[in-house]
Symmetry: C2
Subunit: 328 residues, 2 copies
Amino acid sequence: MKLKGLSEKELIQALRQEFRSDRENIILGIGDDAAVIRPGGKYQVLTKDLLIENTHFLAALHPADLLARKSLSVNLSDVAAMGCRPRYVLFGLGLPSGTDPVWIEEFMSGLKIAADEFDVSLVGGDVTQAERISISVTLLGEGDRFITRSGAQVGDRLYVSGTLGDAAYGLDLLRDHVKLGDGSQTDICLRAFLDPIPQVALGLALAQLAIPSAMIDVSDGLSVDLRHICEESGIGAEVYEDTLPLSEALMSLSPDPMRMALHGGEDYHLLFAVSEENAPLISKIQQSFGVKEIGRFIPGKEIYWINAAGLREILVPAGFQHFRKGKA
Amino acid sequence: MKLKGLSEKELIQALRQEFRSDRENIILGIGDDAAVIRPGGKYQVLTKDLLIENTHFLAALHPADLLARKSLSVNLSDVAAMGCRPRYVLFGLGLPSGTDPVWIEEFMSGLKIAADEFDVSLVGGDVTQAERISISVTLLGEGDRFITRSGAQVGDRLYVSGTLGDAAYGLDLLRDHVKLGDGSQTDICLRAFLDPIPQVALGLALAQLAIPSAMIDVSDGLSVDLRHICEESGIGAEVYEDTLPLSEALMSLSPDPMRMALHGGEDYHLLFAVSEENAPLISKIQQSFGVKEIGRFIPGKEIYWINAAGLREILVPAGFQHFRKGKA
């Protein structure tokens, strides 16, 4: 097993190669938003995320209840991106000795409220000592069908479930010590980062109507996550500047809202492909959920960015070092 | 939700209270070796463990391949303690930036070998940055039946699957910079700590024959883990010094082998209760697995220690601060 070089992507690629499985009840292994198994009649999706202080969150700036909620939400979002129903949670928590009991109380309250709200059951966990706060969440979901990243076809339309970039700007605000309650516009961005809303109901509705040909959640940024769909589906895409949904808050606050929207990450909106044939079905869900068409899948490998003037350039993901890659 | 005080046990107790679920397909929630759900025909068991550098392991002293293996083994041991078959693994890894690629390669090789050996499939995971190495493993198992901690009855016999205390002494050796290969006796103890063998085949055999009334794996030490069975079953127990299995290595090396065996932890042997009626069945598995009777369940709440001279004293778990509680 060769693992020279240490990028997260390469490591996951190596794992995927090494641990590829052809067992019949493993429907989908490493490399999508969640794994899919089929131990019985229904599909089960499995996902886990490890959130580590100073890599994924700043404990001093993230209210404990919202941190607990977000650690669940990012996993709910993965299950939503599979189009499945989240069901069971396992929670692991590493805490520095001497952690304020009030912090723990608030954290647990936030977890409880979020679990109730999304109708998932905490069935197990692990509490241990750590130098930095470490949060490990595993989520099991189930469904009669599921949507992968790999099914997009040339000609499919590209949709997103809401405004992009707010969370990335919210992190910038947080680093500048702007707090919740300081202003209604800043609150929108702060909340997008501190308390993202996983699109569980939308993911389920889309899968039940069998609308998307491919789906992912926007955790690493549009430019990165769209690339995941393109690579897995073996095609390219183009994104139109004039259709990209930006919040009024972001546009009024940020000096470069479009860069935030394209590369920022942490939005946890759903990004999905819909065939020409299925596109009319979108109207069925558009009354309940604000989804927006932002591009199209094309032949080739590249992702193009078509700006408002109609100029076409290759969309390069590398321009923005975002939080999850260890900027903090 | 009240969480004054910060002990791991109290926290888990609070979680258990707060997140109690009466959904019909959650068979067993927080508080055993693993959770049990029944989404389809079979039971599924879910367990997760978070292993954090300097709390659970010393990265500089633990060979990477054995560390990977152990992080899987401690979860396999939880599933074994439920009497179920381990099936699917999710792996989360937090790594400091600049981690030696050779270390990662060895770690992944160890993981691959262990997964193959125990016939489990790695279906997903997460690699991220962290200041300290953090390893988060989730394991799903399945079975037609499962064994909890809570079924022991007064009069049941107490069995253990192998020698105790080796791992705890192995940790002491490791701290004194004794290495694998330095000696055959020290190797036995070092290996018990660095590369414990989860008793998966034994757990399955016991459950298939429906032999144990209660079962747990010895991760925190006999005195602590036996207390878990007693508390969950609402009874007491007594343990006999002259039957407690100690390795020759431990007896020849340690100044206080009995203390290691009673309170040391990290052994990952199975500890289980068997009724008088089922006791003859033990002979069926005794040829394949070295299980030993070491005590008996009695009325009351206390756990007694009967020494070789026949003196009876209460077994207090608090005497030994072991590794998992953050001694390092």
